[in-house]
Amino acid sequence: MTRDEEAEFTALVERQSRFVFRVTYAVLLNCADAEDAVQESFLKLHRHGGWQQVDNERAFLARVAWRTAVDHLRSKRTASRLQNPQEVLSEMPSLHPGPEQTMMAADQHALIHSLIDTLPDDLRIPLVLSSTQELNSREIAAILEIPEGTVRTRLQRARLLLRQKLEVRQFRNQETRHA
């Protein structure tokens, strides 16, 4: 790699590492693992190249990051099962506090973050990818290798589910206050 290319790559890391982190975190739900996956993704790009010739930089990076995170998750699950099957459920501490703790703190954003963490993978990942403004349904469909219609359906279901969960939490919160 020439010096110019190195400088370009450094700029790419500075520009897109947060976005890549969001993608990996959506899959792994663990801050440390997500960071590892980010580093691994950029390392892959650095070794294999091809990042300069892409048309849609974000979609390309999202695909690389998603694949890396899925591989990371598989290897981690396998390793955890081999070590101690009981620890599989308690693994992967979330970046966000639990729903109850968040409710007490009355931080609505943190509450929604923790509710997003509880969504199933097939709903959470498209939702997080869609929240980044430069990725549309078609690009998300290409990244996840699913039909575009499925992406739209999942996005609607994810939003609906989040809304329901949030309403239930708010209702419980009001009841607690009245009591």
Binding site: F21, A34, E35, Q39, H109, I112, I116, R163
Partner: protein, 192 residues
Amino acid sequence: MPEHDEMDRLLDSALFTYATPRPGLEDRVLRSLAVTRAGDSENRRFRSTRRWLPWAIAVPIAAAIALLFLLTRGTPAPRRNYAQSVPQVQRPATPSERPQSSKVRAPSRAVHSVRRQATGAPEIAIRRDLPKQNIFPIPQPLSSEEQALVALAQAPEPVRQSLIQAQNKDEGPITISAIQIQPLKMPDPGQN
């Protein structure tokens, strides 16, 4: 409806701040990349310096195998010209003897193949034939006794007779005087 819009706005804003990494992510990624790159270059250098190692193992092994193959295959017998190395002895020619000018033919390949099939011996066991000699068995040089006998036979008659007489004279009875051994003297008692 306004409640739903409010909820959607809240969801969007929450999604926008979802999964925010710890500060300094870019620096950590770049640092780890630099470390990995340094490790990669180190590995590459190590691999390039150790490139001769497989050759250093493979070449002596190949040479040893080749040497072993050559030794087991059998070295050809040294071709010696016995006719030149052995001194020529004059010998009367026999009618059955072949003329010296006729060339000796080596056994044909067909004979070889028949022999191999008959014996079933492996290729390695077959030895090359020694060169066929014109005179067989090979004449050996005469010993000193033989040479003396030839000289006696070729000597003139008076000389031969005198030699025979001298030999007969020498072959008389041999008288050997009796051996006399002095008796041993016993040392006096008390003396060492």
